[in-house]
């Protein structure tokens, strides 16, 4: 009886053994990986190494390499007032965007993290800006910033040329970008809030802590990994800003909003300097690489807990 019952599985196992020894079994996983690997090689790795190569070359107006120049392009950039200005503007832009985006996102998450009826609608609205493209956001806000017809000057009884005054150009782009970033910060923070165990708040309430005190001594420390993650992600994103700048200010007035990616775009497509644009791209890469490595280091240490 026992023997008979085992015949079928044995046969199966035998067949399976053959399969496991087959050539197909060995190469099958690589076949599954092939589409992704080919695409990533062609459109991420290859252009990455090509960018490095272009950055140490002199190119013709079509982007073809004429000869190698070593680090000359980098030397040129770091002696160029315009590029140094781009770095400063980008850093300043990131600073002005990131902190308000996270603080307001945090405020929204606390507001929405209550079990009231109809909260779903508010939650959808708070996350909504993440679905809005930079082009739509920029064009809507350009109308709001319009010096004579715009609501903003009207509400604040001001007469500011938001997009034409060098003092305000960057601020206008900052405001639009903060608005665009609110959604994503909000969703990560509310997910974080929902992960904090209720008991922590209950015991704090027993100890007589008020609302502010509760958030200060429980919420913020518990969220510190999420906050740190958001800080880095936000910086990485704001360092790559382009759409709003291209539509609203084209790097101006003067060079007030000439952020790195806009400078890359301008050098490549208006000045036909693909070599300089590539060197600028590598500088951007190195800055973001350092930030990412910092994030990994901190994630290992887990900031809190």
């Amino acid at each position: 009886m026992e023997k008979a019952a085992n015949v079928v599985p044995d046969l199966k196992r035998e067949k399976h053994k053959d399969y496991r020894k087959s050539f197909f079994y060995i190469i099958e996983p690589y076949l599954f990986l092939l589409p992704a690997l080919i695409l990533l090689s062609l459109f991420v790795f290859y252009p990455f190494f090509k960018t490095i190569y272009l950055s140490i070359s002199r190119t013709d107006p079509q982007g073809k390499v004429k000869f190698l120049v070593g680090i000359d392009n980098y030397k040129y950039l770091f002696n160029s007032a315009s590029f140094i200005n781009s770095l400063k503007v980008t850093g300043y832009f990131a600073l002005l965007v990131v902190i308000p985006s996270i603080v307001i996102g945090f405020f929204l998450a606390i507001l929405a993290n209550t079990k009231l009826k109809g909260m779903r609608i508010f939650r959808t609205i708070y996350a909504l800006p993440m679905a809005i493209s930079s082009a739509s956001a920029a064009i809507i806000w350009m109308f709001l910033f319009h010096p004579s017809m715009g609501l903003i000057n009207y509400i604040f009884k001001a007469n500011i040329g938001w997009l034409t005054d060098p003092k305000y150009g960057l601020l206008a782009v900052v405001i639009v970008t903060v608005w665009m970033n609110l959604g994503i910060n909000y969703i990560f923070l509310i997910a974080g809030l929902q992960g904090i165990p209720e008991e922590l708040y209950e015991s704090a309430a027993i100890d007589g802590a008020g609302a502010f005190r509760k958030h200060w001594s429980i919420t913020i420390p518990s969220l510190s990994p999420v906050l740190f993650f958001l800080l880095i992600i936000n910086i990485i994103n704001t360092f790559q800003v382009f759409g709003q700048v291209n539509l609203m200010t084209r790097g101006g007035p003067g060079e007030a909003t000439n952020v790195i990616v806009y400078a890359i775009y301008r050098d490549a497509f208006f000045n036909n300097r693909f070599d300089l644009a590539s060197a600028e791209s590598i500088v951007l890469f190195v800055i973001l690489l350092v930030l990412t490595l910092i994030q990994f280091k901190f994630e290992e240490k887990q900031v809190n807990y």
């Binding site: 199966k12 399976h16 060995i26 099958e28 996983p29 690589y30 599954f32 990986l33 589409p35 992704a36 690997l37 695409l39 990533l40 459109f43 991420v44 252009p47 990455f48 982007g63 929204l108 507001l111 609205i125 708070y126 909504l128 800006p129 679905a131 809005i132 493209s133 930079s134 082009a135 739509s136 064009i139 809507i140 806000w141 350009m142 109308f143 004579s148 017809m149 715009g150 994503i184 969703i187 990560f188 997910a191 992960g195 990994p225 999420v226 360092f239 790559q240 759409g243 291209n246 539509l247 990616v261 490549a268 693909f274 590539s278 791209s281 590598i282 951007l284 973001l288 990412t292 887990q302």
Partner: protein, 277 residues
């Protein structure tokens, strides 16, 4: 004050703050919608008006006449749909190999794929542009689509989902003579719908909202995507706010729809990895 009335007051205040804040957040979109229905006269009135005097549809007509908006929408729909589908196919295949199969170099290949996350998209655009231009495919769907058919993010997200499925299921199925491809199709994919959904919504929104790449690789009007098309509308006549806002409303509808319908999956998929620690 009694405890009960305190609670009611607390609720009222919370609702009031939420309504106020939600109104401010959504105000730019609402305002674009309202302006899209105003007559030119009303748009240029001072002080600025908030409510259209009547529903004036001419802005929509004019927007459609000034720019081939339906063509832009069609282009964006084709590009976004193919990118989304491609991301799901390449992502699911690769994620399957990483979660169910044994092979040499598995960890190394995984790390290599993850390392692409370190390369910022904007830093490789110039080289990608030169590649696409040397292939003579500027102004084609291929140029718009090809670079975005696979991503480390997609592979990683699906791998996390696939790893949560029981391994025994796979072993039993293979012993029964089920091929890996069939197992992926019939078992893994149906069981991973939430993760596939969140990747789908995310990639669709990303592709629909993309700006820099389509700006670089398209020159002909009939190949423009919605985001670039809007910029054109703006450039033709910067004072034609009515039609511009009408155009914006039309291109916002698909992205807002995708977001509202897919928000639960999107949010879960995005936050799952980073928050649970």
């Amino acid at each position: 004050m009694s405890d009960k009335s305190k609670k009611v007051l607390y609720k009222v205040i919370l609702y009031a703050i939420n309504i106020f804040v939600a109104f401010i957040i959504i105000a730019p979109i609402l305002y674009a919608l309202l302006v899209s229905f105003m007559t030119p006269d009303q748009i240029f009135e001072y002080p600025p008006k908030l409510i259209p005097r009547k529903l004036y549809y001419e802005n929509y007509k004019e927007a459609l006449e000034t720019a081939p908006i339906f063509r832009f929408i069609l282009n964006s729909l084709i590009v976004s749909t193919v990118i989304t589908a491609g991301q799901i196919v390449t992502g699911a295949l690769a994620a399957y190999a990483f979660s169910f199969m044994k092979f040499k170099g598995k960890n190394v290949i995984f790390m290599i794929i993850l390392s692409t996350m370190m390369i910022p998209g904007q830093a490789i655009l110039i080289s990608n542009y030169l590649t696409v231009s040397s292939l003579n495919i500027l102004d084609t769907y291929r140029a718009l689509i090809l670079p975005y058919l696979a991503s480390a993010f997609g592979i990683f997200l699906l791998r996390q989902a696939f790893l949560s499925l029981p391994k025994e299921l796979h072993e039993a199925a293979i012993l029964d003579g089920c091929s890996n491809f069939k197992f992926l199709n019939k078992i893994v994919i149906p069981l991973s719908k939430p993760a596939l959904g969140s990747l789908g919504v995310y990639q669709f929104l990303q592709a629909w909202n993309q700006y820099t790449w389509p700006l670089l690789v398209t020159n002909k009007d009939n190949m423009r995507t919605v985001q670039i098309g809007m910029g054109m509308l703006q450039n033709v006549d910067a004072q034609a706010f009515g039609p511009i806002m009408a155009g914006i409303v039309m291109i916002l509808i698909p992205s807002i729809l995708a977001f509202v319908l897919g928000q639960n999956q999107l949010i879960e998929g995005l936050t799952a990895g980073s928050v649970k620690s």
